[in-house]
Symmetry: C2
Subunit: 441 residues, 2 copies
């Protein structure tokens, strides 16, 4: 018996209390197809995930222009390029080496992470604003966002900045929280899009929009590079509290903040511990994009409407669907939080912020309105009126062999903008600035 | 406006086509509670995840008997204890070291894993029965099972061996595939439990049970230690094919197989590529329980009922909700698949199988019926009629300071059995056998 889409959804609803008896009947499978209905939420996803799509277009260009292979410069995906500095590296190498000795060997660790790493994150990065048992160490913020979604389940309504990191929306769709995409607006039903453009200085007015259960907010922002001030975040926390929303604060770019008026954690804001979850990552912090280490803070004081601590359910996700970050990688995380590691990280960040300034200056010199890049590794370029971002992406790839990211890839609100990443090596950034200035006059 | 549980589920059903407008109204939050309804699927979960519960009981015993701390021997969680051998270790150490050089540094890799590792898995471990692009490298089989569940979504009905590794059922519940637990039978509505006990030689008769969309099958089995023969797996594949079920084959213990009549992969069975997904792991293979590396094979020929390749949707999960296994760890995986690495792994497995034999002999000497342990690192002990497995767990902990796992922790079908893990160091196994023989006569 093949289930229709409608009955699959009826099944979702009836699964709570009723047992829909499974059929013994043979499923008719032509062409060797299984009798299992495809998850209808996956059919709602429009296109592939953004970054593989960028790689696909770049490869298609190179297939047609093979002589350009050596000329390509990526200002696309936010991927670190500097080697891991000495002290942090020694943490990783020693973390691996000791597994070869009986005394140093370790197997499964706590799914929530090593106790000393959780403590050091709480102390060094949060100045003990939060406690070690509120920290969950993981293999990265991207993975944690899906785990957060698993916890919330299909019944919540989510709000996202528009444009935003595509994982928030895509995982909401995959979890069944949304309706279909509206092909005219490129927006999914059941998602609250919070416009963040030059017009509102990239800070949304959540209070004027429909209420959501879960509000995803990234600052410093990917892709806009905007960093919310203390006053702005105070307002956001207050509004979430008033409306009973849970704020999922993505702080993966916190170490790039240089402005003292921009908080590095949502927990610097009064009352945030009753409102917010914070996702964070060592990726951009220490060049760990390929090494994989992140963490999520779920404060004890945050509860669901029935009083259940959110931390309990997140703990259940972590213990059931995750098995701890690699012990080798966690040893590297500990080294990141030593004073030597912190100094090395600051030097790395200074380097990438130097790149961001060069990109910003070059794009302004060409004549664009340019945002971000001061407290963030992303420079957000406003295109001339009516210029489509995917067209500009192609034009720059063809004229200058520079890979960028079209703003529209981050949601409909990103249309008319282009994101440049400051994570390329310095000489590539200099060369890219030079080529862009020549190509775009 | 607070949603009732009923309206949350109504929302799940209506989310497909309709946009349920979010309310602007302030949510009444007494005691600082958010207005977000708890995911009702999480409320269905009975108790915590098994292994943290074992640790909790062991710690409670030690809190009352602090002088016993040095005497505790764990035959509990299946956690490797031998150091990582030289060649594999050098892969990990070099994988870390090279990140300190500009030439050796790498950031984000493909979410599906390094191309050469995928190829080597296909060639060395599957003798090219499958191709590299059907292999998805991950941070472990436990995590992959949740990702497989995400792909299937809430609309499927799952079948599990009873007893079984608790992740299959727990993640089904978390995804909303099940009804409530029946407190009398300890079974969830909407799960097909396939009894595997001494009576049926630990191989279920799936054809006589209600049809499920997804059949989870682990061989060599955790916890029973049973390893399905070629004939048995041929029958299982045939039945799944006839009924249009997708078989999720968990082969995490494959390297322990010594019997030539027991296949190491489901893809050795004719027709399996149109029926099965295989999850696997380096954890027990190479002592990587803390290092974290696994893989899942999704064959090109496997489709949903509408013809969509399952591989496409799994690829969407991996690219959206995962960011690749650690580059350091993947370098270790490559070393595992060198001839030197394979030889080291075989020596490790021989050692643990030696432990299993000692445990099996000791329990038989005491007078128990004992299963498993020949092609698996688990020994499954049948308790005397009427003896509850959690009681036996406590009795052995108190009398012999040996941690075991009660069969009931793996599902109702495990009641009356005890699982012993062979992953302890040899001297601990010898000591444990000695103590058990003294305590249980």
């Amino acid at each position: 018996m093949k289930l229709s889409t409608a009955s699959v959804f009826l099944c979702m609803a009836s699964a709570v209390n009723a047992f829909a008896p499974a059929s013994n009947a043979r499923v008719s499978t032509s062409l060797n197809m299984s009798g299992v209905e495809r998850n209808p939420n996956f059919a709602k996803l429009a296109g592939g995930y953004l970054f593989p799509e960028i790689a696909r277009r770049r490869n298609a260009y190179l297939a047609e222009n093979p002589d350009m292979a050596d000329r390509i410069i990526s200002l696309g995906i936010g991927d670190t390029t500097k080697p891991i500095p000495e002290h942090i590296l020694s943490g990783l190498v020693n973390g691996a080496s000791k597994l070869g000795t009986q005394e140093g060997y370790s197997g499964y660790g706590a799914e929530q992470g090593m106790g000393d790493l959780r403590q050091k994150i709480a102390t060094v990065l949060y100045d003990d604003l939060i406690s070690a048992d509120e920290v969950f160490v993981s293999d990265g913020a991207k993975c944690d966002i899906m785990r957060v979604q698993q916890m919330f389940g299909p019944g919540v309504i989510s709000a996202v900045q528009d444009p935003s990191y595509p994982v928030y929306v895509d995982t909401s769709v995959m979890m069944g929280q949304t309706g279909e995409i509206n092909t005219e607006t490129s927006q999914y039903d059941n998602i609250v899009y919070m416009p963040c453009t030059a017009e509102n200085n990239f800070f949304p007015d959540y209070a004027s929009l429909p209420r959501a259960d879960v509000v995803y907010f990234c600052s410093p922002n990917n892709p806009t590079g905007a960093a919310a001030t203390r006053d702005q975040l105070t307002e956001l926390v207050k509004t979430c509290k008033e409306r009973g929303s849970i704020l999922v604060f993505d702080a993966a770019y916190a170490p790039f903040i240089r402005d003292p008026d921009v908080p590095k954690s949502i927990f610097e804001i009064e009352g945030a511990k009753e409102v917010a979850i914070e996702c964070n990552s060592f990726s951009k912090y220490a060049g760990f994009t390929g090494v994989r280490l992140g963490w999520t803070v779920v404060p004890d004081g945050l509860t669901f409407a029935d009083g259940t601590p959110v931390r309990n359910d997140f703990n259940r996700v972590m213990t059931t669907a995750f098995n701890g970050a690699s012990n080798i990688v966690q040893a590297g995380g500990l080294a990141c939080l030593d004073p030597e590691g912190q100094a090395e990280i600051n030097a790395l960040i200074d380097y990438y912020l130097g790149n961001a300034k060069m990109l910003k200056d070059a794009m302004e010199e060409i004549g664009f309105n340019v945002f971000g890049g001061d407290n963030a590794p992303y420079v957000f370029v406003q295109l001339p009126e009516g210029k489509k971002s995917w067209d500009m992406f192609s034009e720059i790839l063809e004229k200058a062999q520079v890979v960028t990211i079209p703003g529209a890839g981050f949601g409909p609100g990103g249309e008319g903008y282009l994101r440049l990443s400051a994570f390329a090596p310095r000489d590539s950034v200099i060369e890219a600035c030079d080529r862009l200035k020549k190509a775009m006059v």
